[in-house]
């Protein structure tokens, strides 16, 4: 505070300041005069012109909503389209007695109370002069009925609108998703101009991911109307730009095969084209019919879906997180070879259980009496747990984590669907951070056989399988193949190629072991080889839903169905020149080899031979 009032020449400064104040005052006056001139121009010169424009109902700017783009599968079959549909709409401002009108309409067209309530709710949100739908998807009969008495209902009208329709309903519910009415939250984030006149927006799936492309740009028309608000003539119009069509990589035939094959179970199937990352199959069963969501699903129907024990709204392929079980073993084996802690022919004796030094706890093998002498190949073919307990212990959790991460475990795959789960790949650091506990050696062992903390999504498993099939070149799955707009086409951008450094010999050893899982005499999925003339490399898995106590026996038959093990299978084919990689998870399906593997087999056969298996005799 030394410099306070350190003025050298107060008079001169005063003079400068005064002149500046005069300058500012002059500027202010000039600018205010500028504003006044502009106001005079608008309010005197332009008064006539603007008054005409303001005459409330003379000229209306009507938004022309764009037509939503169509979604096709890879063969060009339509998965989401727009069908014309009639809706009964009301303009509250033009109705004198709304309650009376609603009552009369209700009697005339037999409208449920729930729909009336929905309408009133929407009315509160909307503007008085905008048209609000009361009935969507009117039958021809209802349209005819109303048309006769139309003159008695001012402000009520039938509108033809395009309504989204999903012809493959259950099959595509978790991939294509659906559109629904725009809610208030969405209203805030959507571009206002383009959504004037649009009532629906993508809620999940492809419809949501590619909302911007599918929607298109709104146009508008200036129309002259009479006092009743009826259009007399169009003064000017600017056509909307329709939304882009999207071609998916999905094959609806394969999708159907997968969905049907899961019949009787809950589960998920994902198939990926190895070379391209194209997702051919993306199934989560049970699905649901997305069509009611478009025109407003009833609360009762929605609750039924939401509360169903089978959770049809749950996208298992994208968000289901399961222990990988034995499907992790090929990756574990590869890790062992790459880190040089084991040899493909190194043998170990499996007595049916494994013990850590100085500890009593017995880590069991699924085969009670053990596999005897096993090397890595046999351990994969017969899915020996003891071998992998030992391998996991030698590798240690940190190296397991480091290696498995390269195949995408514990990370989102980046597929073009919203809401993907990342699964979980445990590490010491993870446990310290989220569980606030140290890592115990026993946890390393069970991680080695895909139990414990590890969780994968079906999509992740399919991706890891494809990456293995691709000999370490990382595959990034995607569903949109190309987006075709009215004046542009964009293809799926090429992902940067990431190659996991792997020794060819190690890779081929693991692949050959996986081939023997299917083609070997004692492989866990040996039933799959019947009637195929190409080599399949696969691995079965069984994921525990609950833990069997130390001295107890797991008895499948006596167990409640919801506590039965999940069945898993991952495979790719042909083994020497892989085209397709598949991951199957069947909830409470029991053994991977008997339930999950045949589903993958069907898909691979259909994809590689083009022949759809019609009936499978059991």
């Amino acid at each position: 505070m030394v410099r306070i009032y350190a003025i050298k020449d107060p008079l001169a400064e005063n003079r400068i300041f005064l002149s500046r104040v005069v300058a500012v005052f002059t500027l202010v006056v000039i600018l205010i005069i500028g504003l006044i001139i502009r106001l005079m121009y608008l309010q005197i010169v332009g008064h006539e012109h603007y008054s005409t424009m303001a005459k409330s109902n003379r000229i209306k700017i009507l938004p022309l909503p764009p037509t939503r783009g169509i979604v096709y599968d890879r063969q060009g079959r339509i998965l989401a389209e727009n069908l014309p549909s009639y809706s009964l709409e009301l303009i509250p401002e033009q109705i004198k007695d709304l309650d009376d009108t609603l009552l009369r309409l209700q009697q005339l067209l037999d409208i449920s109370d729930e729909k009336i309530e929905q309408f009133l709710k929407q009315k509160k949100r909307g503007k008085r002069f905008s048209s609000i739908p009361l009935l969507l998807r009117m039958s021809d009969e209802a349209v005819a009925k109303f048309s006769v008495v139309r003159p008695y209902y001012p402000g009520v009208d039938v509108h033809a609108r395009l309504v989204r329709h999903y012809p493959y309903d259950f099959l595509t519910s978790h991939v294509v998703g659906y559109v629904g009415r725009i809610n208030e939250k969405e209203l805030k984030s959507l571009p206002v101009a383009d959504y004037r006149g649009t009532h629906h927006v993508g809620k999940i799936g492809i419809e949501k991911t590619y909302e911007a492309q599918l929607h298109g740009q709104a146009g508008y028309s200036e129309i002259e109307t009479n006092a009743q608000g009826r259009a007399v003539k169009t003064v000017f119009s600017d056509d909307p730009v329709p939304g882009a069509n999207i071609f998916l990589t999905l094959d609806i035939d394969l999708q159907e095969t997968a969905y049907d094959a899961l019949d009787g179970y809950n589960g998920a199937v994902v198939a990926i084209e190895v070379k391209t990352g194209d997702v051919l199959v993306f199934t989560s069963r049970p699905g649901f019919d997305p069509n009611p969501f478009v025109y407003g699903i009833s609360i009762k129907a929605y609750k039924a879906l939401q509360q169903s024990v089978d959770q049809p709204l749950f996208n298992r392929a994208l968000r289901g997180q399961y222990p990988p079980g034995s499907t992790i073993k090929p990756f574990m084996g590869l890790a062992g070879l790459e880190y040089n802690v084991t040899d493909f022919r190194h043998k170990l004796f499996c007595p049916g259980y494994y013990q850590l030094p100085k500890l009593k706890h017995k880590y069991r093998d699924w085969k009670k009496w053990g596999h005897g002498s096993v090397d890595l190949e046999k351990a994969i073919i017969q899915s020996c747990d003891v071998y992998f307990y030992d391998l996991a212990r030698t590798l240690g959790i940190d190296r397991i984590h480091e290696f498995l991460q390269k195949f995408g475990f514990g990370e989102r795959t980046g597929i073009d669907l919203v809401g993907e789960k990342a699964g979980l790949l445990p590490s010491k650091a993870w446990k310290r951070k989220y569980r606030r506990q140290p890592w115990y050696p026993g946890e390393t062992l069970i991680t080695g056989i895909g139990q414990g903390f590890t969780q994968v999504t079906p999509l992740q498993l399919a991706r890891a399988t494809a990456t293995l099939a691709n000999r370490g070149k990382v595959v990034t799955p995607h569903l949109a193949d190309r987006i075709v707009g009215s004046n542009y086409t964009t293809a799926e951008p090429l992902e940067p190629e990431v190659q996991i450094e792997l020794k060819t010999k190690n890779l081929e050893d693991i692949v050959s072991a996986m081939v023997n899982v299917v083609h070997g005499a004692r492989g866990t999925a040996r039933r799959l080889k019947v009637g195929v003339d190409y080599l399949i490399a696969g691995k079965t898995g069984t994921a525990q839903v609950f833990t069997v106590k130390q001295e107890e026996q797991y008895n499948e038959k006596e167990l409640d169905i919801k506590l039965r093990d999940h069945a898993l299978f991952m495979a790719f084919a042909p083994a020497n020149d892989p085209q397709i990689a598949v991951a199957v998870i069947v909830e409470n399906g029991g053994h991977g080899g008997s339930v999950a593997a045949p589903i993958a087999g069907k898909i691979m056969k259909q994809y590689l031979t083009g022949v759809k298996e019609v009936v499978v005799a059991d």
Binding site: R20, I36, D194
Partner: protein
């Protein structure tokens, strides 16, 4: 306290006058502000859909703002002078805090949640920046030398960029102009100003590069509103229709049709002038502008009467900022300036700008009522 008693001796002709001086209220300025706020109620009632709730909320805000104004009027300007730098640094730190931890509201980070209430540091910086520049320059002989000019420019540019990054184009513009105004009142040579103008103009393409898409859109729309009548041009076209249809005499209070039919967006906040112009016509607009001009004149008078450099510079700058508010808002509503989020001072619905504005009038009153009276 000594100054107060002396001022009373010189000017107290009546009891009421003495009382008001004791309250440190400048009567002409107070009347001007009061009238404007009263007018604001009238317009808000109409623009806000004739809801009493809108009025009571606004009344609460104005009440709080007036109390703050009177509190600030009681503080001796020396205190402002002494704490200028601290307040400035504090404000800038808050701005950084907002960028780091601020809540995302309407896609922009402006708010800092203090638990009890939410606080917008960029509002505070509108006052602390000119305080800082005035404090800095008043320590030297005026007019400022190149070195001081550059330091002052840096002190202005830093918070401006922080606010522009939020992004809040309107506020950053106000902060920059309030700082620049201090430099202007300090007697910065015209040559300097022209040079700075040239540099800034040549930097426009660079600025364009840094602007957000929606900001670019607003500028483009301003240049050609008819190109996009359903989208960005919508505001401007509808606002021009509302104003133009008002004519000379207007449609009368509560008589506006454009805002009632929801053609005009933001009719209570940034675009309230359009409602006013529709209802009260050109004559009403002239009246409002005259009222504003009176307030500005009184403030400039206070600036001229101020007795030290710091007070003078600060008073001049705060007055100028008030005018920038008016000009930018009305200019935007009548379509001669691009749409930036600046409210119509003392009239638009909303609390933050009201508090800042009345706070700066409080400082002006403090400057005027704490003078040591010299014989005239």
């Amino acid at each position: 306290m000594q100054t107060e008693t002396r001022s009373e001796q010189f000017h107290s002709s009546s009891v009421i006058g003495a009382l008001l001086r004791k309250l440190h209220i400048d009567i002409p300025l107070f009347i001007g502000l009061f009238l404007t706020c009263a007018l604001s109620f009238l317009i808000l009632y109409s623009a806000g859909g004739q809801e009493i709730g809108v009025l009571t909320r606004q009344a609460t805000r104005i009440g709080v703002a007036f109390v703050l104004m009177i509190i600030l009027a009681h503080i001796n300007p020396r205190q402002f002078h002494r704490h200028s730098a601290v307040l400035y640094v504090f404000g800038v730190l808050l701005l950084i805090a907002v960028l780091v931890a601020g809540q995302v509201g309407k896609g922009a980070q402006r708010w800092l949640d203090l638990g009890l209430f939410r606080f917008q540091p960029s509002e505070m910086i509108k006052i602390t920046t000119p305080m800082m520049i005035a404090w800095f320059l008043s320590g030297y002989t005026l007019p400022p030398k190149p070195k001081q000019f550059f330091i002052a420019a840096l002190l202005i540019v830093f918070p401006t960029l922080l606010i522009a990054k939020q992004p809040d184009l309107g506020t950053s513009l106000l902060v920059a102009s309030s700082g620049a105004a201090v430099l202007f009142f300090a007697g910065l040579s015209w040559r300097f100003m022209i040079a700075t103008g040239v540099v800034l103009t040549s930097l426009t393409p660079v600025l364009w590069h840094f602007m957000r898409d929606y900001q670019k859109g607003r500028v483009l729309t301003f240049l050609n509103p008819e190109a996009d009548p359903m989208g960005r041009g919508y505001h401007i076209i509808q606002s021009k229709i509302a104003i133009g249809s008002g004519g000379v005499h207007g449609k009368g209070w509560l008589g506006s049709t454009q805002s009632k039919l929801d053609f005009l967006p933001e009719s209570s906040t940034d675009f309230i002038f359009a409602v006013y112009a529709e209802e009260f016509g050109l004559s009403g607009c002239l009246g409002l502008l005259a009222l504003y001009l009176l307030i500005i004149s009184r403030c400039l008078y206070i600036a001229v009467q101020a007795q030290d450099t710091y007070s003078r510079l600060l008073a001049g700058s705060l007055t100028f900022t008030f005018f920038v508010y008016i000009f930018v808002n009305i200019g935007m509503v009548i379509g001669i300036l691009p749409v930036v989020g600046v409210p119509l001072p003392l009239i638009s619905y909303g609390g933050t700008s009201m508090v800042t504005l009345l706070a700066s009038f409080g400082i002006l009153m403090s400057i005027h009522t704490h003078r040591k009276f010299l014989p005239t």
